[in-house]
């Protein structure tokens, strides 16, 4: 039997805050309580008030408590544009929690690139990780700064406009090559970022990295088979086999 926990919600976006240039935080009031979820889970959100886009969009759960769900998104296309601009309150349909989640082990490291911070943020704040690395493009994209610093996160920007200058993957690399114990790493960020981490994983033998992957989705829970991606071991469904995978399962041994 399929694990029975997802459900459909009617939501009303009641709050929207601009975090940086094109990144927004929204608060969605739900028609019922959001059941327990795990870090890495996502929801499918449908803009039912619009005739376009036709399909829903996946968003990581940033926070969910009782009847309020919080998401963070970057404006990249049709749906995110509307979410950023339509007058509030604004009604949406959504379903979740969906997908698998990040592993929960002792002394894990955590590394996030840009929006990849979203599904990891709450667990960072809860102190789940031994070390935290967060990278941004530039200062404008740096959000929730104080709380990250409080947790001792290492922050870098590609252009050095805040924190260390350079790709966060390289700071992570510097740190990890000195680790003696086997380390489990959870990662979330763009595909290029995950690919680089995989290279690091292959070089530094004693780590195992789990990354959260993105692709276009229609259903979000394994029925349309539209989100399949090719891996050395065959097709996997990002929505229901993932979105969290061992990097080696996606990119190869």
């Amino acid at each position: 039997m399929i694990e029975s926990r997802k459900s459909l919600f009617e939501g009303i976006i009641i709050g929207r805050k601009k975090l940086s240039d094109n990144i927004y935080h929204v608060e969605i009031e739900l028609n019922k309580e959001f059941s327990s979820y795990k870090y890495g889970n996502f929801v499918m959100l449908h803009l039912k008030e619009e005739s376009r886009p036709l399909l829903p969009r996946p968003f990581s759960i940033f926070k969910a408590k009782e009847r309020v769900l919080e998401l963070i998104f970057k404006v990249v296309g049709l749906a995110t544009n509307l979410l950023a601009t339509r007058p509030l309150p604004y009604s949406v349909k959504l379903w979740g929690p969906l997908g698998n989640s990040f592993p929960d082990k002792k002394d894990m490291f955590c590394i996030a690139g840009g929006l990849g911070l979203v599904p990891l943020y709450e667990s960072i704040i809860k102190g789940r990780y031994k070390k935290v690395f967060v990278g941004f493009k530039n200062k404008d994209e740096v959000y929730f700064l104080r709380s990250l610093l409080d947790k001792g996160a290492l922050i870098s920007t590609d252009d050095g406009s805040y924190g260390e200058k350079g790709f966060i993957t390289e700071f992570f690399y510097q740190c990890i090559i000195n680790e003696k114990d086997k380390v489990t790493v959870v990662a979330c960020g763009p595909r290029g970022f995950l690919k680089r981490l995989w290279e690091i994983e292959r070089e530094v033998k004693n780590i195992e990295i789990y990354g959260s992957f993105e692709t276009h989705m229609a259903c979000g829970f394994g029925v349309c088979l539209g989100c399949a991606i090719e891996t050395p071991k065959g097709m996997v469904k990002v929505c229901s086999d993932g979105p969290v995978f061992k990097l080696k399962d996606i990119f190869g041994e």
Binding site: M1, I2, S4, R5, K6, S7, L8, H46, K48, S51, R52, P53, L54, L55, P56, K93, W95, T215, H216, M217, A218, C219, F221, G222, V223, C224, L225, G226, C227, A228, I229, E230, G234, M235
Partner: protein
């Protein structure tokens, strides 16, 4: 009030999912009681497992979507386990199937015929995404006649035939299926279409082309249903762009006896249950029975 009969099957209501958009049905357990649906139509199954097409497999368009899943499925053996789980539901279980050859169609039919939980077989002769599969079969009335006839020989269960709209002679094909012993015709599968990414100059789908579904196709499929209803005597089940009660009413008015909801399941996983309620409310408001609606078009 909503009950209808299709061949030997009684349906509580005319609503069922379209194959491939509802998994095995079990994935929707969280969203509603499957027993309340007129039928559950499962994802297309074939004799052997199929890995499906190269990603990307879906692309969204202004008023529809393209998919090139390529009939990925676990094969009839593993599928049988899933079938057993569907026993728990008091509804008709319709199994959509296809083959890469005459023999495969017949082999799968034989196996499905032995399963009590299966109420009815839905033969897909229409998927445009695989070259060996359906498409060559789907557009020749003679081939369809002989395929349906041979499948009917190996199963006592009702057989529905799901047609491709990618043909100029859908009425002849529907007639051929009827004459060969089909219990109902499902009209229609997706329209072959494509999208080009102008940045990369590559097709947006890994498979180059795919099946076009959603609101955009409704006017064309509605016309196909209208034409076939006039020429065949077995029930027509409509599939194409059903998103709201108005779409349902249009199909029933032109003469469809039941409807399959496909792409709309992705925009609202509870849509089938919502539509059952909407239709009930509509009939009560208008003081009608469902049979007053079916084929009520005024020309």
């Amino acid at each position: 009030m909503l009950e209808i009969k299709i061949g030997n099957l009684f349906l509580k209501n005319p609503f069922m999912p379209a194959s491939g958009t509802f998994g095995s049905g079990l994935e929707y357990e969280d969203f509603g009681d499957l027993s309340e649906l007129g039928a559950v139509v499962t994802k297309g199954v074939s004799l052997k497992p199929k890995v499906g097409n190269k990603p990307p497999r879906i692309y969204e368009l202004p008023s529809g979507m393209l998919n090139s899943i390529g009939l990925e499925n676990v094969g009839i053996d593993k599928f049988t386990d899933i079938l057993n789980q569907l026993k728990a539901y008091k509804t008709n279980i319709v199994v959509n199937f296809f083959g890469n050859s005459f023999e495969e169609y017949i082999e799968v039919s034989k196996i499905l015929d032995e399963h009590n939980v299966v109420s009815c077989l839905e033969m897909n002769i229409s998927c445009p995404n695989i070259k060996e599969g359906g498409i060559c079969f789907g557009t020749d009335p003679h081939v369809i006649y002989s395929l349906v006839r041979n499948v009917k020989k190996v199963t006592k269960k009702d057989l529905w035939v799901k047609l491709t709209p990618n043909t100029g002679n859908i009425v002849s094909i529907a007639k051929a299926a009827e004459n060969a012993g089909a219990s109902a015709i499902v009209i229609a599968n997706t329209y072959t279409g494509m999208k080009v990414d102008i940045e990369t100059q590559k097709p947006a789908l890994g498979n180059i082309f795919g099946g076009y579904s959603g609101p955009a196709i409704k006017p064309i499929t509605l016309y196909h249903v209208f034409c076939c209803v006039r020429e065949v005597n077995i029930p027509i089940i409509a599939s194409g762009g059903i998103f709201n009660i108005e779409d349902v009413l249009e199909y029933l008015i032109v003469g469809a006896k039941a409807v399959q909801v496909g792409t709309a399941n992705f925009t609202n996983p509870c849509i089938l249950w919502d539509l059952i309620k909407d239709l009930k409310d509509y009939l009560i408001k208008k003081n009608l029975n469902i049979y007053d609606l079916i084929g009520s078009i005024k020309l």
